[in-house]
Amino acid sequence: MEDVAVIGVGQSVFTRSCGESIRELCFDAYREALEGLDITGNDIDASIICSAPEYDKQRSPSGLISEYLELTPKPTFYVETVCSSSSTGLRVAWSLIKAGLHKVVAVIGFQKMSELSSRDAAERMGRGGDIIWESPFGITMPAGYAMYARAHMAKYGTTEEQLAKVRVKNSHYGATNPKANYRKELSLEAILNSEMITSPLKKFDCCANADGSSCIILASGDVAKRVTKVPIWIAGLGAATDTMTMAGRESLTGLRCAQEAARQAYKMAGIKPQDVDVAEVHDCFTVSEILAYEDLGFAKPGEGAGLIEDEETYVDGKIPVNVDGGLLSKGHPIGATGGSQIRTIVRQLRGEATEAQVNGAEIGLVHNIGGVGQYGNVTILRR
């Protein structure tokens, strides 16, 4: 069977408040994804629209976005796994192409969160848990991850300062990313002294809600070779889940969905963790990045904090991670995030990541998590 490649990537600028409609927001990413390609919208056989519902009034956004981009009468549909929606969209697009049903598929992720107050957005996220048994206690996404952080600290001695060092790194790279919402470097002191949101996570341990869009265009191998000079091949895909409830979790020191998705993706790509040249991981909170180091096998369980202590995840380190600033700097427009991570890795593998290029990167990895570890997607890309 033929291979599948990413041929185009785009994202809007991620901002706290975009002042646009969701269709216009999606156009920004779509235009960038088509730039430099020898195809037009007429060549796109299907589109997959990815976001988390309940942030906008529009029901069934696929039809709306498809019309605005003039993708009708081609099929379009909606995919949702909360914060990992667009990685799930990529997985579905891959299988549509692999099955021979379509040659070119666009995966468009978006979220406009600014129409809700911060507390209302937190309430929506709380309902991303079990609404009978856990949401009525006031669970939130930060609170769920905070419990992982506390358990990791208790078992392995991970410190709040080590968590903060993740933000120091990501703010360093975010400062030069023109698409990021937060473009300032943060000092260790500023992070440690920021207001406590849900202990032990402070304001600067948390990513910000944002408005944004992303677009990834995938094509079958024959088309990819024809329409782009540098196709980026999808080498491995992994997807897994864990329980919706926190009560169902077997361990709070790692995300089982990420461990399982990584195992699948490495196996499919025929590589090991040490073969990865550059990675994008789902740093919705600082602790999430440390869990990701361990869940992806970049560090042994309990040793994730050592990687950031030793600055091994900076551009010149052993395994550069989130050198575009991560969710912590870019902001986290839920449905757009996975596509933005893919875009960063594709630019790295093409050698186009001028702000923070990892020299000679050939293999890249994307780790994208939905909810508090409910949905895990790992994607491995190869030049």
């Binding site: 507390r119 309430e123 079990d130 009978i132 009525p136 206690f137 006031g138 419990m147 208790a154 169902g248």
Partner: protein, 137 residues
């Protein structure tokens, strides 16, 4: 009655396991066990996905639990603004189940230790609402 008065904010009322609330009002926190395969469930399930039976029985969570993890929530979502700060916790019980609930307000933050012994008990909330919470064992 269903889940309409459960927790600070409830989002849905109807469930086959609504008896949980009746028993909670009578002072008991219950879980379910499948009569066919013995699988135990918390949150309670009216059905057993392992053997596809709906013949389940209630049992009370009576053991001492151990605190798995916790967080002090300072920023409450809409509907929970007036509750904050509150402490969310997970505890593991001998019955082979884990429960998420709040820590009782009489436990001071500096006294919390991962692994500490807790019990799970019904808790009356303002406005005739009801939940369960963890207390020091």
């Amino acid at each position: 009655m269903g889940f309409e008065n459960f927790g600070t904010v409830s989002f849905t009322a109807e469930a086959k396991v609504a008896d949980f609330i009746t028993q909670l009002e009578a002072g008991k926190v219950m879980a379910t066990r499948c009569r066919k395969c013995g699988g135990s469930y918390f949150p309670p399930k009216a059905d057993c996905p392992r053997c596809l039976s709906s013949d389940v029985e209630w049992f009370e969570v009576k053991s001492k639990g151990k605190l798995t993890s916790y967080t002090v929530v300072n920023y409450g979502p809409s509907g929970f603004e007036n509750d904050a700060p509150y402490i969310l916790a997970l505890a593991e019980f001998d019955e082979g189940i884990q429960i998420l609930a709040r820590l009782s307000r009489d436990i001071e933050e500096e006294d919390i230790k991962i692994g500490m012994n807790l019990t799970v008990n019904p808790a009356q909330l303002p406005d005739d609402r009801i939940a369960y919470e963890f207390r020091r064992a």
